[in-house]
């Protein structure tokens, strides 16, 4: 592998950067320039935004999103195993059972801790009394 073999990558880089530069410059020179306040606003579905984009929203969304990602990733691992599980035999079954046990155990834990409860008041009943008072 010599440096010359990397030449196509270099050409690709130049082409990509050139395309961006040319399109941006061309549109800057040829476009009409008539700004209005609406046009300068950040784009949001083509509707005039009603509230500031940055605002507080409940942390439970993050919790659900995080749990979703965890189980999503588990499914990805199972796909890899599922495509060759007949070849792996009982060893593969045992390995996947161990893996699934740990994911399920996590689900049971977060469930019992109330992470799946949408209602925050009901969630806090899982906490110990001393923690509830603090929260």
């Amino acid at each position: 592998m010599t440096l010359a073999d990397y030449l196509p990558i270099g050409i690709m880089l130049v082409l990509a950067a050139g395309f961006v530069a040319v399109s941006l410059l061309a549109s800057r020179f040829f476009r009409p320039n008539r700004p209005t306040p609406e046009k300068l606003d950040p784009y949001e579905c083509g509707i005039v935004p009603e509230v500031e984009p940055v605002q507080r929203f409940p942390v439970k969304f993050y919790l659900v999103a995080m749990l979703f990602v965890i189980f999503d990733v588990e499914i990805i691992f199972l796909f890899a195993w599922g495509s060759i599980w007949t070849e792996l035999g009982w060893y593969g079954v045992a390995a996947v059972l161990i893996f699934t046990f740990f994911v399920l155990e996590t689900l049971v834990y977060v469930w019992k801790r109330g992470a799946l409860d949408w209602n925050v008041k009901r969630r806090s009943r899982y906490l110990a009394p001393e923690t509830r008072r603090a929260a």
Binding site: I98, T106, V108, A128
Partner: protein, 486 residues
């Protein structure tokens, strides 16, 4: 039919730890028991893991003695090794975990319903680092490193109410992930240069071929040294250590630092000495430089600290340098002995810090230790033994450890490094003596100190180990020297 040679024994200790972590969490949410019940579950998991480790040790020794086959020590498609080196590292990790949990028990109890999470994280961290010390595949080393490190990041931020704890966790996380990324980049370059991920295969590659243009490989080695150097807090990759040691809850810091050191140095020794031994002309000067910088820099900076935790952090940077002289010496047994001995001293010292300044507290000013000898004579005596052990006074285990690595480096032809190391040891001695003088030669401020029983036990074990292995080091030295890697 793909049938990897399965030897479940190879991962039973880790499996035990992981199942223990799961059991702790499930017991907690189902029965909400007292902390002692969770402690018993954890103790059970650790006992099982230790028992399997002993079985592995016997097997490894049999295989080396010719009673079994060396091939038996390689498991899971050559991913995991059960050689003496791995088993010794595992054993040290498990013992450190048990003592670390005992040392942090008051903190864990105070965490309320989150105590199960702390215990589970500790067990998972140990399982990860245990994989790291026994991995033969560089990707497996990385996997273990990440499992362990991520658990440690969370432990650093376990006291959520304290902003310094948050700061420590975030700093540790950001810098740590960066170091992990650098390490895995190095692994990728080694793979690009040799076509191998396995440490044993890399060794046979280099003994079979002479690489004429090893540029990629050398960059790979450099990146791996940087990544692992960060984990063991060797200078100049030590910047995170003082902040994390100071900010993280005192009950956990000793454990966190000790297991990261054991696993990091086991990985460094295995990768550099075993895997890349034939390229040592290339990496020896670098490691020697890092070692000298850590020893001198760490000792000098420790001398000027006003906070005992920052002082211990910089002294652990210096210790990383001392252990590195063993890596330069090329003998894995000296490295193993040093980290095993130092891990106990570190956990014991932080048990003292937790007892004096509160387990969840993050400020531990040196002033709090003034006249500690009158406020709590036992604590001061134990701490003195540990500090003198770290300093390497004769008749402590620290001396035996330092003597071992220094003589290895001397016979490897690095006389200048040994001279620097001895001078740095003198500096380090001043560091530790300052605390001892502070404890004994000043007047006490404040009432008699209430020392929890767990801290007392940990301190007794650590101090006893320091003295016993200082006077009669033979037992542990024999174990360490028969714990050589495949």
């Amino acid at each position: 039919m793909i049938t990897p040679e399965i030897s479940w024994l190879a991962i039973l200790p880790e499996l035990g730890l992981a199942l223990g972590a799961a059991a702790v969490l499930l017991v907690e949410v189902q029965w909400k028991p007292r902390a002692q019940v969770l402690g018993m579950v954890v103790a059970g998991a650790l006992t099982i893991a230790l028992a399997f480790t002993v079985v592995q040790w016997i097997r490894a020794q049999d295989a080396v003695a010719g009673a079994g086959q060396l091939g038996d020590l390689v498991a899971f498609s050559r991913m995991i090794l059960m050689d003496g080196f791995a088993v010794f590292g595992r054993f040290a990790l498990l013992v450190t975990t048990a003592i670390g949990i005992t040392a942090g028990w008051r903190l864990i109890e105070g965490l309320g319903r989150r105590r199960a999470e702390a215990l589970a994280l500790i067990l998972l961290a140990s399982a990860g680092f245990s994989i790291m010390v026994s991995a033969n595949n560089l990707v497996m080393v990385f996997l273990g490193l990440e499992v362990g490190s991520i658990a440690l990041y969370v432990l650093a931020g376990m006291t959520r109410s304290s902003s310094t704890s948050d700061e420590a966790a975030l700093k540790y996380f950001l810098l740590g992930s960066f170091a992990s990324a650098i390490f895995i980049y190095g692994v990728a370059l080694i793979y690009a240069g040799t076509g191998q991920f396995e440490i044993l295969a890399i060794r046979s590659f280099f003994s079979a071929f002479i690489v004429t243009s090893p540029g990629v490989i050398l960059i790979g080695i450099a990146l791996m040294i940087v990544g692992l150097g960060f984990k063991v807090s060797a200078a100049p990759f030590h910047a995170w250590a003082p902040d994390v040691y100071q900010g993280a809850p005192a009950g956990f810091v000793g454990y966190m630092a000790a297991v990261a050191k054991i696993a990091g140095f086991a990985a460094i020794a295995r990768i550099l000495i075993t895997g890349l031994g034939d390229l040592e002309v290339n990496w020896l000067p670098v490691v020697a430089g890092i070692s000298a910088l850590s020893m001198v820099g760490g000792s000098l900076l420790a001398l000027v600290q006003a906070d005992i935790r920052r002082m211990l952090a910089y002294s652990s940077v210096a210790t990383a340098g001392f252990v590195m002289t063993g890596v330069v010496g090329g003998a894995t047994s000296g490295v193993l002995f040093y980290v095993a001995v130092y891990a106990l001293q570190l956990v014991g010292s932080f048990a003292v810090v937790a007892a004096v300044s509160g387990p969840a507290n993050s400020a531990s000013s040196m002033d709090e230790y003034q006249g500690l000898a009158t406020r709590s004579p036992g604590l001061a005596a134990g701490f003195t033994i540990l500090l003198l052990g770290m300093a390497g006074l004769p008749l402590t285990s620290g001396f035996v450890a330092k003597f071992g690595v220094f003589s290895d480096a001397w016979s490897a032809g690095y006389q200048w490094l040994v001279i620097v190391a001895v001078l740095a040891s003198v500096l380090a001695f001043a560091v530790y003596l300052r605390v001892v003088v502070n404890m004994y030669m000043s007047d006490a401020e404040g009432p008699t100190l209430e020392v929890p029983d767990t801290a007392r036990w940990v301190l007794m074990i650590a101090a006893a180990a320091t003295i016993i292995w200082g006077i009669l080091p033979g037992s542990l030295l024999d174990l360490a020297s028969s714990a050589f890697p495949l």
